[in-house]
Amino acid sequence: MTRARATSLLLMAACTLWGCTQKLSGAASSSFDAGGPTDLAGAPAALDERYFICNVQPVLTQSCAMFRCHGDGTRYLRIFARNRLRYGGTEAERNTVIRPDELRMNYLAASAMVHPRKPDESFLLRKPLDQKSGGYFHRGATIFGMGNVFLDREDPQYKTLEAWVMGATWQDDPACQLRFAAADGGTDGAP
C-alpha cells in the first residue's frame, strides 16, 4: 500500500466516524428539542381505552378501516374491524363481533399516532384532516380525489377523535358509562 493511499483511507475513515457521530447526536438533540413522539417527558396520562372503544373505534371502522386504506394488514396504522380486517379467523367469521384483543391492538396503534405533548398536532388528527383546514398530506385524500376524510374541524367524527386525544374519558360519556357499568365486574366488553 502506498503512503498516499494509506493517508486517503485514514482520512475517509475519520470523516465517516465524524459524520456518524454528528448524525447520531443531531438526531438525539432534534428529538429532544422538538419534543418528538419518542420523548415522553411531560406526557399526559395514557389515553382512555374505554372512551376509545365506545367512540373512537366506530369512527375508525367507518372512515379508516376500508381494505384499500387502514384495513390493509401491511399498513403501519392498521385497523381491525368487524366485517373488515380481522386478526385471524375464517371468512365466515369476518362479520362476528370484534374481539377485545383486536380492540386492544387498535387502541395501541391509534395511541401511537398521538403526539404526547402536542396532541393537537397528532397524526391521528392532522392526517385525515383536509390540508385547507390545517391537515397534513394524506395519501387517502388523493386516491378518490374529493378531499380528505374530514374536510374541516367541525366534522363530528373529527371532534370525537379530538376529544379522545385531548383527554376525554369514558366517565365523560353517559352512554359509555352505561355500557361499562355491567362490564366492571368482568372484562372490557367488545361492542
Binding site: Q57, P58, V59, T61, Q62, M66, F67, R68, C69, G71, D72, A81, R82, N83, R84, E91, A92, R94, N95, F144, G145, M146, G147, N148, V149, P191
Partner: protein
Amino acid sequence: MKRFAFAFAVLGLALSAARPAHAFHAAKTFADSPDQGGAGGIFYTGARDERGWTCAACHVNAPGKLQVQFTTTLFNDFSYTPGQTYEFTLRMLNEQKGLDAPRANYNAFVLRIADDNASAVGNITGAAADAFYMRGNSAGETSIIATQGQKPGETSWKFSWIAPAKGRGDVTFSLGVVDGNAAGAGPDSTLNDPFGDDLYTARVTVHEAKPQHAVSVPLLPSGDGAPRGPQALAWLLGLLGLAAMGVRRLGLRR
C-alpha cells in the same frame, strides 16, 4: 324419538350451512352501524359527500374488465324534463366472476341520486321492496337504490325514476356495480368477500331541460293598446300603402 331428533338436527345443520353469509353484498349492511359491521350510511358510490369513496375502497385489486350497460332515454341528451318518468335498465354485459358458485354468486349495484346540494332528488318507482333497498328524505325523494342481495346470479335490474319538479337543477347519478366472485371458493361456496371481485363505477350529471316557449316576434313595440297579430299586420300594410302613395306623389313632382 331419538331418530326424529337426530333427523331434525341434521336438517337444521344443513339449512344453516346452506344459508349464505350476508356481508356487504346486501345493501342493508351499508346502512348498519359500524359496530354491527356496517358502514354507517356510507354506500361507497363515489358521491361528493361520501368523499368520492367508491366500491374500490374495499374491493381491492379489481381487474377492471367489467362492462355495464345503463339504458335510459335520460342519457340521450343528458337532460331531464321535470316530472317525467324515465325507465332505467342496468345490465352487466360480461360477468366473469363467481360463475362456478351458484349459491354465492352475488352481483350488486348501488346508485346514488343527488342534486347539487347532495340531497335526494326525484322518486324511484317500479322497484320491488324485496329486491331493492331504497333510502330517501322525508319528502319521499330517493337518494339511494341498491340491490338487496337476495338472489345469486342476477346480472340485470330494472326500475324507473320520476324526475323532480322544475327548479332542482343538475342531478348526478353515481353508480357502482360489483361482479362478485363468491369468495373464490368454488361450487360449494356460500360466502363472499371483497377480494377478487370486479368493479364498474361511473358518475353522470344530467341537466334540467329548459321549458320550450313559443317564439313570438313583435311587429311593433309592445305596450298597452298597441295593435297585435292580424290587427298589427293590417296596420303595417296600411302604413306601407300610405308610404307608397307618398313616393308616387314625390315622383310626380319631379
